[in-house]
């Protein structure tokens, strides 16, 4: 089964990358960009076939490794 884990900065946490991309886009003449935030997607191929069990294991992976829960949120998406 394929899964996508989306990791994003918590609201209010400074996103220096997003800020710099925003400035660069303005510099390139793109107008009307109001905000930019950058996040990660981790794409996993799992041998697990049961969605509930996959989700549980992914949640565990996020808490332990994939996300830095002090400053990041995560969302799990299963391709079913």
């Amino acid at each position: 089964m394929k899964a996508h884990v989306h990791v994003t900065l918590k609201p209010g946490v400074l996103d220096p990358q997003g800020k710099a991309i925003h400035k660069a886009l303005s510099g390139l003449g793109f107008e009307g960009v109001e905000q930019v935030r950058q996040g990660k997607v981790i794409e996993l191929e799992l041998s697990e076939t049961d969605p509930a069990r996959a989700r549980e294991s992914l949640r565990d992976m996020c808490e332990k490794l994939l996300a830095n829960t002090v400053i990041e949120n995560y969302a799990i998406e299963l391709d079913v």
Binding site: G12, V13, L14, D15, P16, K19, K23, N68, V70, I71
Partner: protein, 740 residues
């Protein structure tokens, strides 16, 4: 005043949440002549936090020596400033980011580096070197590896990006830091002496200018967090984590230095702990003035920020300046060139008050001097640490195999090579690193000259724990020795005093002992303290860290052609031991690592001998008489010798000096007596003679050569085996396999 800030009675729990005692609140009522509103309470709370007010430590800090003919600015400024000749000044300071780094190691350490860099370039210096003194918990503790990885990456992430070389530091592992790691960062900068900037505001009506990043809701109450113990509730404090933006800081450095080359700046102050509050208070109070701020003009990252949030935010990469009014436009152009926010947010007044306005209304109004001067100052009760019993060498068994003992010491967490760490730091950017990490002190060339600064950080917490006063002295002596071993003349010290909860008399006793020891050593060595930082409440659930007064120190090398490194240079040279030893094994690494014992008094520090021996060694280096030099510290003679052999990829045979009266062999090899150095010279004779003349103990103890190291009575150990022991522990511990 507007409705939401009208003085309401503030409930006791809110006062407590702000870390203020009932007595302190009473004082606030007196100063204000009325009840404060929440914004004002918040301001009092950060200004009176331990971190900003030094309320527990001030009486003791005052006892430190701070003057010398070469000191330009001692404590009281953002960083210390010393004269390094040719019209230049070295500006430096060390600061802790312990609590934030425990919560989020990468960002905590990164923002620690950012903060200390700002303290230095605020004063007009271009930062030229960073150092970091780190203490982690037991390597076996489940959190340690993660913390090491994050802290090291964070320090590198920030320093590498901004382009200031990270040239040195130190690392210890001890279970005493399991719940409270220490991340102390030091920055050294260089400025022309006639362009040094301070925070002393002047000129009523002059504009107060905000520049750098926008203000967000991050880090609110970081200063009070840094002043409170960790407990079960620590997790809830997490949203105070700040994210560093080294790119913006790089722009800020360049923009500030560009502006500083003009005559536009009256006063400048970085926004560090307690952000806009403490920076504006500091500037006004140093100048004996008042300040009006219009909070509508503060550049904000988020909508709807309250005055409380703006004043207490600890968003990074921000500066506050007072400018000459006619230079405002020039300054604006420079900051806009560097893509930084620039806003006039207020002006200086003669009111002696800080008046905060928003939406046309006064939302806060506080007297500046009474607040600053009435900051609590405590003479906390303390009990001296009981004298640790001394331990005779004969009470410590000899190892079955001295070679094996040496290998074990070289591979132990506190002594093994730190290459895994410093290779993650750009230690060569700026192309002036003359002595890279790995030696006694880093040497950074003063750009465009053939002179250099030697820089080190030192502290031996196990000594401080056993005997705070001696430990404090030893930290200073070791820093002084490390500078001397490169050939530098030691000039001045910055300190970072890391301790537990000062409200506990035992901890306070450690603090007092260490500060007294530091003061005594600095006085004896003409080594004034010019800046520093105090970090208290480093404890978790009532368990304090080992006392850790980190000493950062700077020395001057007049001619880079006349320095020494630890690396053996040539075959067949004589190895000379300078200084006397009785084989002191109390509180030694040998005792801990080989015998598994933590006991005994630390080695005696004889400051007169330190000075005499060090001055002698420096003279030899300056005269070009020695080819390599290393001071003796953790692990004693045998470890120092092995480090010199490994650095030079050249072996040696160690032999017992023929003057008799030696301690047992293992104590001679691994004893940690102070005030000692190993030097190599083409021939020992003249040096031994000169030493006798100077009243300095010296003896020939071996010869360089070959590809093995031979200890007296032992079998030769190959350098490869020594190298593997020394180099492999840290990468293996951090899980780096050869394939990477």
């Amino acid at each position: 005043m507007s409705d939401d800030t009208v003085s309401k009675v503030i409930p006791p729990n809110v006062i407590a949440q702000h870390g203020l005692s009932g007595e302190e609140y009473e004082r606030i009522l007196e100063i204000m002549g009325r009840a404060p509103n929440l914004l004002e309470l918040g301001i009092f709370s950060v200004m009176w936090s331990e971190h900003c007010s030094y309320k527990s430590s001030k009486v003791w800090l005052k006892t430190l020596p701070t003057a010398a003919p070469w000191v330009i600015h001692g404590p009281g400024e953002n960083a210390g400033v010393i004269d390094i000749g040719e019209g230049l000044a070295a500006i430096f300071k060390m600061e802790s980011h312990n609590h934030p780094s425990f919560i989020e190691p990468y960002q905590g350490a990164a923002t620690g580096v950012g903060g200390i860099l700002r303290d230095v370039f605020t004063m007009g210096a271009r930062p030229v070197a960073n150092l970091n003194a780190l203490r982690f918990g037991d390597p076996e503790h489940p959190k340690t590896r993660h913390l090491v990885a994050g802290v090291v990456e964070g320090i590198g992430g920030y320093g590498n990006c901004i382009g200031v070389p990270t040239v040195g530091g130190e690392v210890n592992f001890d279970p005493g830091y399991n719940g409270n790691i220490l991340v102390n960062a030091m920055t050294v900068g260089i400025a022309p002496q006639d362009r040094i900037f301070t925070s002393q505001a002047s000129g009523i009506g002059n504009p107060v200018v905000y520049t750098g990043s926008k203000t967000g809701r991050d880090g609110i109450h970081g200063a009070t967090m840094a002043s409170a113990e960790f407990g079960e509730g620590a997790e809830e404090k997490r949203p105070t984590v700040q994210v560093g933006d080294p790119f913006t800081e790089k722009l800020l450095v360049e923009a500030c230095l560009e502006l500083m080359a003009t005559d536009a700046i009256v006063a400048i102050q970085d926004m560090g702990a307690a952000g806009l509050t403490s920076s504006s208070f500091e500037m006004a109070s140093q100048g004996g003035l008042g300040v009006d701020l219009d909070l509508d003009r503060v550049p904000c990252r988020e909508d709807g920020m309250t005055p409380y949030e703006m004043m207490l935010s600890e968003s990074q990469e921000r500066m506050l300046m007072v400018l000459k009014p006619e230079r405002e436009e020039l300054a604006r152009r420079i900051f806009e060139k560097w893509d930084l926010d620039f806003a006039v947010i207020g002006h200086l007044t003669d009111s002696g008050r800080m008046v905060l306005k928003m939406h046309g209304e006064i939302v806060g109004d506080l007297p500046i001097d009474p607040l600053a001067q009435a900051a609590p100052e405590y003479r906390r009760p303390y009990v001296n640490t009981p004298q640790a019993p001394s331990l005779a060498p004969s009470e410590v068994p000899a190892p079955a195999d001295t070679g094996a003992a040496l290998l074990r010491l070289l591979a132990c967490p506190d002594l093994c090579s730190r290459r895994w760490i410093w290779e993650q730091y750009d230690h060569m950017v700026m192309a002036d690193t003359a002595a890279r990490p790995g030696g006694d002190a880093a040497v950074v060339r003063i750009h465009g000259t053939n002179r250099g600064l030697a820089i080190t950080t030192d502290c031996t917490p196990r000594y401080c724990q056993a005997a705070p006063h001696d430990g404090g002295m030893q930290a200073v002596a070791e820093a002084w020795r490390n500078l001397t071993a490169t050939g530098a003349r030691p000039l001045a010290v910055t300190d970072n005093l890391n301790f537990g909860n000062p409200e506990r008399p035992k901890v306070m006793g450690q603090f007092v002992g260490c500060v007294q020891g530091i003061g005594e050593a600095c006085r004896a060595l003409d080594f004034p303290v010019v800046s520093g930082n105090v970090s208290l409440y480093n404890e978790t659930n009532g368990k304090a860290i080992p006392p850790t007064p980190t000493i950062g120190a700077v020395g001057l090398i007049e001619d880079l052609a006349r320095t020494a490194t630890v690396a053996f240079q040539a075959e067949g040279e004589d190895i000379v031991l300078i200084g006397a030893g009785e084989g002191h094994l109390g509180a030694s690494l040998y005792l801990r690592e080989i015998e598994g014992r933590r006991e005994g008094a630390p080695p005696r520090v004889d400051l007169a001998a330190e000075r005499r021996n060090g001055d002698f060694v420096r003279g030899l280096i300056e005269n070009g008489q020695v080819t390599a030099c290393h001071d003796l510290s953790d692990g004693g003679l045998a470890v120092a010798l092995a480090e010199m052999a490994l650095a030079g990829s050249l072996g040696a045979v160690l032999s017992l000096p023929d003057d008799g009266g030696l301690p047992p062999l293992h104590a001679w090899l691994f004893g940690e007596d102070q005030a000692r150095y190993l030097v190599t010279v083409p021939a020992a004779g003249p040096v031994l003679k000169a030493a006798r003349g100077a009243g300095v103990p010296a003896a020939k103890v071996g010869t360089t050569g070959g590809e093995t190291l031979t200890l007296p009575g032992g079998a030769p150990i190959s350098l490869d085996e020594l190298r593997a022991a020394h180099e492999d522990w840290l990468p293996a511990y951090m899980g780096d396999t050869a394939e990477n």
